[in-house]
Amino acid sequence: MLNLLKSKAWLTAVLLLLGLILLPFVVEASLGKSWLRILDFALLYIMLALGLNIVVGYAGLLDLGYVAFYAVGAYCWALLASPHFGLNLPFWVILPAGAAIAALFGVLLGTPTLRLRGDYLAIVTLGFGEIIRIFLNNLNAPVNITNGPQGITLIEPMNLFGFSLGKKQEILGLTLSSPHLYYYLFLVFVALVVFVCMRLENSRIGRAWVAIREDEMAAAAAGINTRNIKLLAFAMGATFGGLSGGLFASFQGFVSPESFNLMESIMILSMIVLGGMGNIYGVILGALLVTVIPEALRYTGELQRALFGEVFIDPADLRMLLFGIALVLMMLLRPAGLLPSKQRRQELAEDAG
């Protein structure tokens, strides 16, 4: 601790913290209010991507149904804090409940798939995600649980110590809008998730995950209980997914099955792949890029008008096309991602040598 105080790391940390606290003000002033919301979503996606990174990046279990856990967390929040069932439970109950139920679903998905790896696992998890979505879409009759495709509206915003994040608040003479307040809340959770991930990475469990990723048989031979360690990976990933889901529901005030389709899972997966699997910084970078770049592409409409005098292709339609092309190019040119983890880099160097 004393060393840390003396070193430059301390200064960097303070500057980083200060920058992160000031960031929403800068963003709002320079880019406008809509970008503040995008920033909030970027934080949510960082949490999601770090959660998926545990499953895919560390343990090497390719999960294409990750969004199901996000959905479970979000619907859990939506059902327990909205007029839909007339329930209004406090934050301290709902958020852990959502995360716990999501973890349960993680184990539920993990148990039957323990023998599978690679493509097969990807397909099964994808099927699992679709099943959850089909249920969310249809569980409105005869008993209305999820309100079907319309989704659940009027979800209550987060309420901390009698202090609502849903409306403007005066703090220290500053007026902070709701996206502002959520930004700080999400930041705290992201910091928490990053901390947990960092501690996990070098723990016994983290090493066991990497071991089964590299060679499951050897790991089992070395005395690792591969079943429990895999289930733990699914459960941990799902917990983070459920947590982000709950935060998402309260921030958005509205959930519907549409937010939890396969494309969302693929987006989160590509964040990890783009950034650099298994590397926390890489994953954060990937999540930021994948959230921000498509938004920035909205400006291509203006660019088209400037170049050709009219908008040929709706920028909203162009986004996914470019995203698809980017996925292919990325794999062809830089399969290890922008910031590959140290371990991966070593492996690649060995392969080359």
């Binding site: 798939t113 599978l116 099927g127 699992f128 249809n138 698809g324 794999m331 062809l332 399969p335």
Partner: protein, 310 residues
């Protein structure tokens, strides 16, 4: 009208389409151990192209017999999709043949997103109608079920294609090369097989079958949509897994079984669950089958044991 017989007919027709698409998955998987995620989108492209050609031809020569116009559309879609299949393999899979398994999976997803969005930009976001009026409109009663001429044609065409494909794989030089490549690519190469050409041929054949399936499904339902390939592809993949991936007969059996299961499931799920779950849960069966088969018997009904390593 007997519900059971009717759902059997519907299921077999649906199953024919699944089987044709499943053959494409199984052919590629048998050789490369790769799930060609973009295969469903190839099917979609097939029906879109066919509908466009049919519309154009009808505009130019409305006096031609309807069946000729539809057939021309089909014949145009097949080579177009073959070219597409060939290009996909060259661009997205061949450069990554020795990369970690995650890489081709991601490029496959990328390609399927690209194809969906290209289709959306060309044909728009709405459903586009297949001119079913050009097709024979006959209906027949068999054992209390009604079956249309189009459905009979689909069943007949599927069986013909399957017989032809099995003959191709088991009796021709190309078929032998394909089987050799699937067994051991390196050894096949040493024996003088041009492995790259065989893999390209596999993709081309699969894409051709996908084009036919795409035209069938849009002729049967009277419409096509840029997103239709996704779910169709997933279900066909489930069918291939059910039958035992890598196994041709398995893909056909799996496709037919899944089609029948889905149709019967949709017909009876309401009664079975006392009205709690309705026929809009139809899409769930393919995924349930997929999960059950992969967890209980990963090699599928007719597959070999070796697949378990996947």
């Amino acid at each position: 009208m007997d519900i059971f017989a009717q759902q059997m007919v519907n299921g077999l027709v649906l199953g024919s389409v699944y089987a044709l698409v499943a053959l494409g998955y199984t052919l590629v998987y048998g050789i490369l151990e790769l799930i060609n995620f973009a295969h469903g989108e190839t099917t979609m492209m097939g029906s879109m192209i066919a509908i466009t050609v049919i519309g154009a031809l009808f505009g130019v020569a409305p006096d031609l017999p309807g069946i000729v116009i539809v057939f021309t559309g089909l014949l145009a879609a097949i080579p177009a999709c073959m070219l597409l299949g060939y290009s996909i393999e060259r661009v997205a899979y061949r450069p990554l043949r020795h990369a970690p398994r995650l890489a081709p999976l991601i490029t496959a997803i990328g390609i399927s997103i690209v194809l969906q969005n290209v289709a959306m930009l060309i044909w728009g976001k709405q459903y586009i109608a297949f001119p079913t009026t050009l097709l024979p409109q006959g209906r027949h009663e068999i054992l209390g079920a009604s079956i249309t001429d189009v459905q009979i044609a689909i069943l007949f065409l599927t069986v013909t294609i399957m017989v032809a494909l099995v003959t191709l794989v088991n009796r021709t030089r190309l078929g032998r090369a394909m089987r050799a490549t699937a067994q051991a690519p390196a050894v096949a190469q040493l024996m003088g097989v041009n492995v790259n050409r065989v893999i390209s041929a596999t993709f081309v054949i699969g894409a051709g079958l996908a084009a036919i399936a795409g035209v069938m499904v849009s002729a049967n339902y009277g419409q096509a949509h840029y997103y239709m390939g996704f779910l169709l592809g997933l279900k066909a993949f489930s069918a291939a897994v059910l039958g035992g991936i890598g196994n041709l007969t398995g893909a056909m059996l799996g496709g037919m079984l899944l089609g029948v299961l889905e149709a019967l499931g949709a017909g009876y799920i309401g009664d079975l669950t006392g009205g709690f779950l309705g026929s809009h849960y139809q899409d769930i069966f393919a995924f349930l089958v997929l999960i059950l088969v992969l967890t209980l018997k990963p090699s599928g009904l007719l597959g070999s044991k070796s697949v378990e390593r996947a």
